[in-house]
């Protein structure tokens, strides 16, 4: 019997992507070394790599990365947790939703970066303002998705819970929370990504340490290699966070038969 081709076929497509990337780097290196492109803007990948190692060894990367991560983590939690709770309750209780909806609808469309100056006026230019700005940016996507997640739950599930005499608390913990989880998690993913953008943005504007600061100083002092390294690290951070969230989702939502990407 011939083995199913689908099962034994190794995925070779990713390797082609890697090859293309390496090819691209080689071309870039060659163009830079032979002075066919200006190294002022496009330094050779080997120079960027050397700069990366240097920043890694001196601890410059680590300090700024941890500063950004700390801000992102704290700000995100501060925004996502109330967003989650409020969203679930708004999704569950039409009355509560009716009361809260006007406020959410009014505040949500304001670009989160645009209120940063106001936050700084009120809370000063210290760490608190930055964390608040990040928190606000994470708050809304988590809230809206949590609310949608509960509202889109089939009413049958609530009827089953009632029919079996589930208390309000049981209904909340066994129906509302797990039922909305796939949508809540996609809200969390959007929230993290928005928070990351805002983290870099507020760091560009005002901070002592952080990836945004690194990017900004590299520009100010025209250390072009460091600029590339900072951008690269920021991108990798984003990718890592999204992969982690993807794994968490797969672990928490084993019942979902949707492809994990959709969740």
């Amino acid at each position: 019997m011939k083995p199913s081709p689908n099962r034994l076929k190794l995925a070779w497509e990713p390797w082609i992507s890697v090859l293309i990337f390496i090819f691209f780097l080689i071309i870039w290196e060659w163009l830079a070394r032979s002075a066919r492109i200006t190294t002022l803007f496009f330094p050779a990948p080997s120079r960027i790599g050397a700069s990366f190692l240097h920043m890694l060894i001196t601890g410059k990367l680590a300090t700024n990365l941890t500063a950004s991560l700390g801000r992102l983590g704290l700000g995100f939690l501060l925004g996502a947790l109330p967003g989650l709770l409020l969203g679930l309750l708004m999704g569950w209780s039409p009355r509560f939703r009716a009361i809260m909806d006007p406020f959410i609808a009014a505040l949500h469309p304001i670009p989160k970066l645009a209120i940063f100056p106001l936050i700084m006026i009120i809370f000063g230019i210290g760490e608190l303002s930055k964390i608040l700005a990040i928190a606000i940016s994470a708050f809304f996507p988590v809230l809206i998705n949590s609310m949608t997640g509960v509202r889109e739950l089939n009413p049958v599930y609530f009827e089953v819970a009632r029919n079996y005499g589930a208390s309000r608390w049981k209904t909340f913990t066994r129906v509302v929370i797990p039922g909305s989880l796939p949508t809540v998690l996609s809200g969390i993913r959007i929230g993290v990504n928005t928070a990351m953008v805002i983290t870099i943005a507020v760091e560009l504007l005002s901070a002592q340490k952080g990836l945004g600061v690194l990017i900004w100083f590299a520009w100010m002092t025209f250390r072009i290699e460091e600029l590339y390294v900072s951008l690269f690290v920021t991108a990798v951070l984003g990718i890592v966070i999204n992969i982690l969230l993807h794994l968490i989702t797969r672990h928490l939502v084993p019942w979902s038969n949707r492809p994990a990407d959709e969740v």
Partner: protein, 258 residues
């Protein structure tokens, strides 16, 4: 423990006037009786069942359960047409849900659920999730869940409505088998006339909009019933009689002239 529906009416207020879904329904169901309700779609069968289940109150009238002692058992358990199982719970957790809401501890309720699943031959699926099971298996699990709480009355809302016809035949026999073991009062809503006759001690025929009981037909086929009983001449006669009662409404609904 039977129950009675007394003068039940259900009215929905719409933007343009009112919709009378149910009008002055009076039904009396005896203990351990298997009563089927058939009617055209949209006649308010499901609404009636949900009222009996206590999921909402009717506009007027009431449901009275005859001598319901405080046994600790729920008055009714409902089996829904579809989606009744929680997709986020494993099969055993789903089956145990009725015990969970009554505060039975986790170990004990899962053990009870496992035992029941094992007896039903579904043991190997106890840790699966509903989406991993076929539609027929899911409904068997839903029925087990309802039986596990040992309700006084079982309310079934087209439980096999979304199954293919072969699966449905087997499930109907299976249901009768379980029912024979644990005699319960059953109220079974369906749009399948043959199914109603095959299962029920009595078939109530509903008319649509506003929903009311048109006929109350006793089915005197002896139990246990066999699949072959479907071919009995009296089944044929009753089926024809019921179809004549609801045909015009079905045609009207579809806009098809007779």
């Amino acid at each position: 423990m039977g129950f009675q529906c007394k003068h039940i009416s259900q009215t929905y207020r719409l933007r343009r006037g009112e919709l009378v879904a149910l009008q002055d329904l009076n039904i009396s169901v005896n203990e351990q009786e298997f009563v089927c309700i058939v009617g055209p779609s949209g006649c308010g069968k499901t609404t009636l069942l949900k009222i009996i289940a206590g999921l909402f109150l009717p506009t007027t009238g009431q449901v009275v359960f005859t001598d319901a002692p405080e046994t600790g058992h729920p008055r009714s358990a409902m089996v829904f047409q579809d989606l009744g199982l929680f997709p986020w719970m494993s099969i055993r957790e789903n089956v145990a849900f009725g015990l969970e809401t009554r505060g039975v501890n986790r170990k004990q309720r899962l053990a009870t659920a496992d035992e029941l699943l094992e007896k039903a031959g579904l043991g190997e699926f106890k840790n699966s999730y509903p989406h991993q099971l076929s539609g027929g298996m899911r409904q068997r699990v839903a029925i087990l869940r309802a039986f596990l709480t040992d309700p006084q009355t079982l309310l079934m809302d087209e439980p096999f409505g979304s199954l293919d016809s072969q699966t449905r035949l087997v499930m109907q026999e299976e249901l009768l088998r379980i029912w024979k073991e644990h005699r319960k009062t059953v109220m079974y809503v369906t749009h399948d006339i043959e199914e109603a006759i095959y299962l029920g001690d009595r078939v109530l025929v509903m008319s649509g909009r506003p929903g009311s009981i048109q006929a109350d037909i006793p089915i005197n086929i002896p139990r246990p019933r066999q699949t072959a009983d479907r071919d009995r001449p009296e089944v044929e006669a009753i089926r024809w009689r019921i179809w004549k009662m609801i045909e015009s409404e079905v045609r009207q609904e579809l806009g098809v002239q007779s």
